[in-house]
Point group: C2
Chain length 336, copies 2
């Protein structure tokens, strides 16, 4: 087959010298070229808008958070919707900034009464069952295997990471059940959970079995602290304005807490975009469908950089090094 193809290629090449090969596109170029149909709009009811007090130069600081879809963390997320509706965060503050770790906000006094109707979510909801359809129709692609430390043979914790429906997710293999027959290379998973990547938003809590209400939130501003996975609830991610949190001065107290009241950044308001009382239409946001051909090409390019700056493609990428592309849509949110 190869030999047969060789002849026409040589003939074709003979008359004119071959054109210089087009350089391989960068991940950003692939995203920029993705067709409009590959982008998925994020519902306004899943956007949490946090307005901080203006900075020292009087510039406004808005942070936009996308809440996570079912089956993840829905108990905490329902609390967060209630807290936003009750305007509970208005007048609270950003209280903790620990370098290469997290920025945390909420009520520093820990005495502000919570609104009625919040639920207490059990630890069991730090992860979720893998739906059968996800296994039967594997649209997601595994990106990394995190093997056990120090001895893979001794401690067989193995998780597989995937980016599915726009979110980074890890899942754990389950052991073979009695009488079950698996085909060679076949694996089954039973539990899955979102992963602590840069910009992910989680729920601060006290010592277990406390799981937090959702009133105390943090976002990751450093290398993915994956040891927090399945130990704290993740509820969303910052999709715009993370620099208003990540570039804050680091706290000098224990765990990065600010020691002086004037260091804290006041929170003016936190609202769902769908419930905001505003005259100005809000921007809409959309993410690159992680099930699209564009995303597959983007993820492959993140793992194997072939654009001209690079000389050695890595041949792999961990799940937090393939951030899901998110952008402002050209459409504006309709007003309520």
């Amino acid at each position: 087959m190869k030999k047969l193809l060789l002849i026409p290629l040589l003939l074709a090449a003979a008359p004119t010298p071959p054109a210089a090969p087009k350089p391989a596109p960068s991940p950003n170029e692939i995203v920029a070229a993705a067709p409009a149909t590959d982008w998925v709009e994020i519902a306004a009811s899943d956007l949490l808008i946090m307005d901080l007090a203006a900075d020292a130069k009087g510039r406004s600081r808005r942070v936009v958070i996308q809440l996570m879809p079912a089956p993840f963390s829905q108990g905490w997320i329902s609390n967060i919707r209630k807290l936003a509706a009750a305007k509970w965060w208005d007048g609270t503050s950003v209280n903790r900034v620990l370098d290469n770790y997290v920025v945390q906000w909420g009520d520093v006094t820990e005495k502000k009464a919570l609104p009625d109707g919040l639920v207490t979510v059990p630890e069991a909801e730090y992860d979720a069952e893998v739906p059968y359809v996800m296994l039967a129709i594997p649209r997601a692609r595994p990106v990394m295997e995190l093997n056990a430390y120090p001895n893979p043979a001794e401690d067989t914790y193995v998780s597989t990471s995937m980016i599915v429906d726009g979110w980074p997710v890890a899942m754990v293999r389950r052991p073979k059940r009695k009488g079950e027959r698996w085909l060679k290379g076949e694996n089954f998973y039973d539990r899955m959970w979102p992963t602590h990547c840069y910009g992910m938003v989680g729920v601060g809590r006290d010592m277990p079995p406390n799981t937090g209400s959702g009133a105390e939130l943090y976002t990751v501003i450093g290398h993915a602290p994956r040891h927090l996975d399945r130990n704290i609830a993740l509820v969303g991610r910052v999709i715009e304005g993370i620099e208003h949190l990540s570039s804050l001065p680091r706290g000098t107290g224990a765990l990065g807490f600010y020691e002086k009241a004037e260091e804290r950044v006041p929170i003016l308001s936190v609202r769902l975009a769908s419930e905001m009382d505003t005259d100005k239409p809000l921007p809409r946001f959309e993410y690159l469908s992680t099930e699209s051909a564009s995303f597959a090409q983007y993820a492959d390019a993140r793992a194997n950089r072939r654009d001209p700056f690079f000389i050695k493609p890595a041949g792999g990428a961990d799940i937090c090094n393939i951030p899901v592309p998110i952008r402002r849509s050209t459409k504006l949110q309709t007003l309520r």
Copy 2:
């Protein structure tokens, strides 16, 4: 053996009810308890001290960088020593801050003449040969296997990460040579390189085959950009004061460059600690020997958190999630 031990334990436990089990120590507690003999001093000649202009409140900003040992990047590091000795960075600036990526500094005009005697380092020095002694006496422990994306079977790039002699290092397996016999489970490595973890310092460069002189430097302020491994030279890491870089306002220009001159942070001076002209003794620094029992315990605890806050140990940690503990020593640097 186990059975013999069981009896005295049961006997000992019989008279009094067992005391509540002592909670497992956290990684920080393990580091705090490490004996003085497990700490290794960093030579003053390997410390690069960068003083930035004072901040808006008049507070001084000092960044301390530890340069990497042989066999890594020694050509670039010899250039950096010459640039510091020539006071070349004095009057240059921090020019670029890209969120979740890097902070970069050097001569923004790109016109400042470099001192004589700098070497041009070839791309081949982005990695180094694995010394036989490291394979024969595996003091380092592998922490992660980064498998290929999208299909491990198709693209068999596999690297093993280790923390060795105080530094995070990846190495790549080499294929079996003709006639060679490997024992079951045996692997051989030929090339190794330092990894782009948070706080690592690298050499900015133009398009390949340019490899950079060392005059333009950056540090990582986000999730480990491992795709840069073997594509850019790493020369060290920030061991104190990274918050003076990571909390700078993000640049609004392309690639995070500052658009206005007044946004740039002036660099007052960059010197080797061993060549500093100062009346005040400088602090000394030491790292927790990565070959010590304390480090093994610390790394295990990072991978398997058992301290009371945690309910599910991760069972693994990637190499950039086991930062090497570094602290000020109680001793002061002697003055020159």
